[in-house]
C-alpha cells in the first residue's frame, strides 16, 4: 500500500462542521501531550484537552483553539470531535481577555479561602481563555510574517 500524500482534516462540533480540508500536517492537543501528525500516521484514538491546534497547507499555517472531545487518526484522515472549536480569526480577543481576568480573580478568591468557588471550573475557564489568546496571537504573528515574505 502506498503512503497517502496528504491528510483529510475534519473538525466537527455539536453546532457545525467547522473544517473539511486537505492538509499536509496537523498538530493537536492530546490529553497525554501534543501530537504532530503527518500523512501515513498509524491509526490512533485520543482524547483532547483544552489547547491550541494548528494545521499546515503548503507553507500556510492555520490556528484553531479546541477544547474537550476526541480525535481519530487514520493514515489519510484526521477526524476531530470537539466540544468547542474556533478558528483564530473568529476569536474575540477582548472577550477572551475579559474571561481570563475573571477566571484569575476566581482562582485568587479560591486561594484566599472562598470555598463557594468551583475550582475546577475556574481552572478550565482560565485554560480556555489563555488558549484563545495564544491562538489569536499566533495567528496574527503568522499572518504578519506571511505578508512580509510576500513583499
Amino acid at each position: 500500500m502506498s503512503l497517502p500524500t496528504h491528510l483529510t482534516l475534519e473538525i466537527v462540533t455539536p453546532d457545525r462542521a467547522l473544517v473539511t480540508e486537505d492538509v499536509d500536517e496537523v498538530q493537536l492537543p492530546g490529553t497525554e501531550g501534543y501530537l504532530g501528525i503527518l500523512p501515513g500516521h498509524t491509526p490512533l484514538l485520543t482524547a483532547l484537552r483544552v489547547g491550541p491546534l494548528w494545521y499546515r497547507k503548503g507553507t500556510e499555517k492555520f490556528y484553531l483553539s479546541v477544547a474537550f472531545g476526541f480525535a481519530e487518526v487514520l493514515p489519510d484522515r484526521v477526524r476531530l470531535l470537539a466540544r468547542i472549536a474556533e478558528r483564530a480569526e473568529e476569536i474575540d480577543v477582548d472577550r477572551a481577555e475579559e474571561h481570563r481576568r475573571k477566571a484569575e480573580e476566581m482562582l485568587q478568591a479560591a486561594k484566599a479561602g472562598n470555598t463557594d468557588i468551583d475550582l475546577e471550573r475556574a481552572r478550565v475557564s482560565l485554560m480556555k481563555a489563555l488558549t484563545r489568546l495564544q491562538v489569536a496571537g499566533r495567528h496574527s504573528a503568522h499572518a504578519a510574517s506571511q505578508a512580509k515574505r510576500r513583499n
Binding site: 490512533l44 482524547a47 477526524r79 466540544r83
Partner: protein
C-alpha cells in the same frame, strides 16, 4: 339582527387578530429556518460520535461499564420535552398525552419525570406527579451546555442506581407539517447499536489514554449528544407546529372576515330597502 356598527366593529377586531397571527407566523417561519439549520449542522457530530463509540465498543470489553448495565426496570426516569409557549397547535397536547399514556402503561413501575419546557412542567406539577428534574426557558437560546446539564442528571441518577432506565419523549421534526412523537431509550445505551461493526474498524489502534479510560469519556459524551439532538429536534418541531397553526389561524380569520362582510352587506341592503319602502308608502298615503 345586529346593527351595522356592531358588525363593522367585529370585522375590525377580527382583522387585527389576523394581523397578529400573520406576524407570529412570519416569526415562527424565520425561527424554523434557523432551528432546522441547527439540526442539520448537528448531524455530522452525532453520526461521527456514534461511529467512534461503536468502533471502540467492538475493540474493548464494554460489558462492565455502569452506563451499559441492564437492570430490571422498576424505576424509570422519563424526560418529556415540551415547549415553553403555547399557540402552536397540538404540539404540547400531543406530547403530554403520549407521556401520560406511557405512565399509565407502566403502572406497576415507578415513573419519575424530568420536565423540560414550561407547558409540560405546569401540567404535570399541577397534577402532582413525581418530578425528578425540571427546566424551563431552554428553547429560546439553545446551548450545548443545556444538553450537558440534562445528560449529567440522567447519568448521575442512572449510575447511582436510583433509576433503572432513562427515556426521552420528544417531538421529532419530520417535516414542516408533520411532527412525530418518539420515545427513545437513553440509558442503558442499547447494546444492539454497539454490536454492528464493519471489519475495517477492527484495525490496530494506538490509544491515548488507555481504551477503558477513553471509553469512560466517550459514553457520557454520547448521552449528551443524544440529548442535544432531541432538544434541537423538539425546537424545530415546535417552530414548525407554531407556523402551521398560525397559518391556519390567519386563513380562518380571512374566512371569517369574508362571511362577516357578506352578512354586513346584506344587513345594509335590507336597511336601504326598508327605507325605500317607507318613503314609497309614505308618498302613497298622501
Amino acid at each position: 339582527m345586529p346593527s351595522l356598527i356592531d358588525l363593522r366593529r367585529r370585522i375590525r377586531a377580527v382583522k387585527s387578530t389576523q394581523q397578529i397571527t400573520k406576524a407570529m407566523k412570519m416569526i415562527a417561519a424565520s425561527r424554523l429556518r434557523k432551528s432546522q439549520e441547527r439540526v442539520v449542522n448537528a448531524r455530522p457530530f452525532a453520526i461521527e460520535a456514534m461511529r467512534m463509540l461503536r468502533d471502540l465498543a467492538a475493540r474493548t470489553d464494554a460489558s462492565s461499564h455502569p452506563l451499559l448495565a441492564v437492570r430490571e426496570e422498576k424505576t424509570v426516569l422519563a424526560f418529556v420535552l415540551t415547549a415553553d409557549k403555547g399557540l402552536c397547535g397540538s404540539f404540547n397536547t400531543n406530547i403530554i398525552k403520549a407521556a401520560g399514556q406511557a405512565i399509565l402503561a407502566r403502572s406497576n413501575q415507578m415513573v419519575m419525570l424530568g420536565l423540560i419546557g414550561r407547558k409540560g412542567r405546569d401540567f404535570f406539577r399541577r397534577r402532582g406527579y413525581p418530578v425528578a428534574y425540571e427546566r424551563v426557558n431552554v428553547f429560546q437560546h439553545l446551548k450545548f451546555e443545556d444538553a450537558e446539564d440534562i445528560a449529567n442528571v440522567a447519568i448521575e441518577e442512572y449510575a447511582a442506581a436510583k433509576v433503572d432506565a432513562v427515556y426521552l419523549i420528544y417531538n421529532e421534526f419530520k417535516s414542516v407539517i408533520q411532527q412525530r412523537i418518539v420515545a427513545e431509550k437513553l440509558l442503558p445505551i442499547p447494546r444492539a447499536d454497539l454490536n454492528e461493526v464493519d471489519a475495517a474498524a477492527r484495525m490496530d489502534y494506538i490509544y491515548e489514554p488507555d481504551p477503558a479510560t477513553l471509553f469512560d469519556r466517550i459514553l457520557p459524551g454520547h448521552v449528551r449528544v443524544q440529548v442535544w439532538h432531541a432538544l434541537l429536534e423538539s425546537a424545530a418541531a415546535e417552530n414548525a407546529a407554531r407556523m402551521t397553526a398560525m397559518d391556519a389561524a390567519t386563513k380562518n380569520a380571512t374566512d371569517m372576515i369574508d362571511g362577516l362582510t357578506l352578512y354586513m352587506n346584506k344587513v345594509r341592503q335590507a336597511g336601504i330597502t326598508r327605507e325605500i319602502i317607507e318613503v314609497v308608502s309614505g308618498a302613497q298615503a298622501l
